[in-house]
């Protein structure tokens, strides 16, 4: 009797568990599905068929025209350059700074942490005008370098805190052992600590890459020329004065998702933690 009760409760737990996950996934993935659905619906069916989960006819012409008749390949290329550079630069600086915050005691550390936090308190909109004013005479408007610079500076504080927490999780004794074994501090950082914080680096890379990839406000305000436009700004070109080309917009959106998906597929192996298991007593 007791056993069957226990079993019944288990099933309820199981059902509750999976229905919560299913509800979340449905909520999170349905918009993506809708983007895809609209992107493969031919224009003539878009408004005539009403609301259906799947169009009666599937067509890829939106993709064709996005790739061949718009500047989207250029926007993609621009976005890729900006996002990759931002991710790599941010992680490089954040890893070094995060390590310093995690391991060293130095004068003014508490102030530095405070200032880093302060930078995160301003809404982006507030600093756009001064940034534009600063960038304009330096020739950093209408340039990808300007975007990389602003994205990197804006993402570094958060990335530092993220990396610091990953370094904090690695026992100090590991690098002390390495230093006694004959390493320099940098050698210990490079050969022992860095391999162990790969999951953290991967997570930070992913976070910064996605943030840069989908940023609209700075890209819109700082760059007005076609050759320095990133894809989120490019998406806006489908909205004209009198109509919105939903089909092409959604096709471009789906294409824009691909690099992010590929990026996360590449790093997902490192996102799985547990590499430090067995370092110290167990």
């Amino acid at each position: 009797m007791a056993k069957s009760n226990f079993g019944g409760r288990n099933i309820i737990y199981w059902l509750a568990h999976y229905s919560v996950i299913a509800a979340y996934l449905g909520l999170a993935l349905f918009p993506l599905f809708w983007i895809f659905k609209v992107s493969i619906t031919p224009n003539r069916l878009l408004y005539s068929e009403g609301i259906r989960l799947w169009p009666s006819q599937v067509g890829w012409e939106h993709y064709w025209s996005v790739i061949h008749h718009t500047d989207f390949p250029l926007f993609f290329w621009n976005s890729s350059i900006v996002s990759c550079c931002t991710a790599v630069l941010t992680v490089l600086f954040a890893a070094l700074a995060g390590y310093a915050f995690s391991r060293f005691i130095f004068r003014g550390k508490i102030w530095l942490v405070g200032f880093l936090l302060v930078t995160q308190m301003f809404p982006l909109v507030m600093i756009i005008a001064p940034i534009f004013r600063l960038f304009s005479p330096l020739g950093l408007t209408n340039s990808l370098a300007g975007l990389v610079l602003i994205y990197t500076t804006y993402n570094i504080p958060f990335a530092i805190f993220l990396m610091q927490s990953f370094f904090d999780a690695v026992p100090k004794e590991l690098e002390e052992a390495a230093m006694i074994d004959g390493s320099t501090r940098f050698g210990a950082f490079y050969r022992i600590i860095l391999p162990l914080t790969l999951p953290g680096i991967a997570a930070t890379l992913g976070f910064v890459f996605t943030a840069a990839w989908s940023e609209l406000l700075f890209a819109l305000m700082l760059n007005s020329q076609q050759d320095a436009t990133t894809f989120p700004v490019g998406l806006l070109t489908f909205i004209s004065k009198f109509s919105v080309d939903f089909g092409q917009m959604m096709a471009a959106g789906v294409l824009a998702l691909l690099p992010v998906c590929i990026f996360f597929l590449l790093i997902q192996r490192h996102l799985v933690r547990g590499l430090t298991a067995g370092a110290v007593k167990g």
Binding site: P171, E173, D181, G187, L196, L275, G278
Partner: protein, 356 residues
């Protein structure tokens, strides 16, 4: 092998002074154990020797050479950490060979050295495993192996056995001692466990509140503790401390408990009549008998270990432990009688804690 000299070492963290002027001379090939309660500064002293912390004041010399500004990698010491600190992403073999690879040894030499150390520690079959695939005892051995491959000037052990269970600890105690016997390297071993200190040390350094309390062989500390701290810390079960008063009985000053004379005050000790002193008496030096002419003591608790029994007795209102291997049939609540040799009594000053 190297000698290590520590001169007037002071270490402060912020406003806290952890080491308050420590001086110590460690001879080449000696096995020295730093012992004391947690927070006494023993690990800090070891880390200062390793170069992992910087000195606030004082000098540390290795083989006569001042090492204050020499980084850890150039001190040629090896350290075994309490947490083992094995490199989790490397196999046992890579863990063992790491220091040799850093020093760019020839591949053949690295292989033969690693194999030799591994077989010495019974790790030969585990060379391809990662640390997480090893048991606690095996990890401990790898940590030891990593220290011995390089033949360093000295070994530093920071509570290396505290994460092991009692039986394994006993076995590793023996193995570390045997390794020291075979290799003859200078070793400094930090522990809070007085059994480890007693069984392993050539010399024990007892530390408390950042000050060296006593330095000597295990038996010196056991037989002649310099103060209350050492007397209490060394020996298990711990020494009995009984409050006594100085009385004048027939022209000589005598220490009494509840007006029962126990022993004479040593000649030259200047204590006034009715002054308080502390009487130290090791539990194993007290005899428990039926002889009614001796001091009575009421048994309030008996602990049996198999090898021996520990009797907790009420001795004129104070608790006294008696450790005996003889199997006398006493029961809780009974009055027993106790006997001891006056020579075994150690007297301490209650204010300074020092031996009288």
């Amino acid at each position: 092998m190297a000698s290590i000299t520590i001169e007037n070492v002071i270490k402060t963290f912020g406003v806290v002074q952890v080491l308050k002027g420590v001086s110590l001379e460690i001879k080449s090939g000696e096995f020295v154990v730093l012992v004391g309660p947690s927070g006494c500064g023993k690990s800090t002293l070891l880390r200062l020797i390793a170069g992992l912390e910087s000195l606030t004041e004082g000098i540390i010399k290795i083989d006569g050479k001042v090492t204050n500004d020499i980084p850890p990698r150039d001190r040629d010491l090896a350290m075994v950490f309490q947490s083992y600190a094995l490199y989790p992403h490397m196999t046992v073999e890579k863990n063992l060979s790491y220091s040799l690879r850093l020093r760019k040894f020839a591949k053949d030499l690295i292989n033969s050295t690693v194999m030799h150390s591994a077989s010495l520690l019974g790790l030969a079959d585990l060379l391809n495993r990662k640390p997480k695939q090893l048991s606690g005892g095996q990890r401990q051995r790898v940590a030891m192996g990593r220290a011995i491959v390089r033949k360093p000037k000295a070994f530093l052990f920071d509570e290396p056995l505290s994460n092991l269970d009692a039986r394994l600890r006993e076995q590793m105690r023996f193995e570390i001692r045997k390794l020291h016997f075979d290799l003859g390297a200078t070793s400094i071993y930090v522990t809070h466990d007085q059994i480890e200190a007693m069984t392993m040390a050539d010399r024990i350094v007892a530390l408390n509140h950042g000050i060296i309390q006593q330095v000597g062989t295990p038996m010196e500390l056991y037989d002649n503790p310099a103060n209350l701290f050492v007397a209490e810390f060394i020996g298990s079960p711990a020494m009995n401390f009984i409050k006594g008063t100085v009385k004048k009985i027939v022209n000589s000053l005598t220490v009494c408990v509840d007006s029962n004379p126990l022993c004479d005050l040593p000649i030259g000790a200047s204590y006034s009549i009715d002054a308080e002193v502390i009487i130290g008496l090791r539990p194993e030096r007290i005899e428990i008998t039926n002889n009614q002419t001796l001091f009575p003591a009421k048994i309030i608790l008996i602990e049996t270990t198999g090898l021996a029994s520990i009797y907790h007795c009420d001795f004129f209102g104070q608790i006294v432990k008696i450790f005996t291997t003889s199997r006398i049939d006493f029961h809780v609540g009974e009055i027993a009688f106790i006997n001891f040799d006056v020579k075994d009594i150690k007297l301490f000053d209650p204010l300074s804690g020092n031996r009288i």
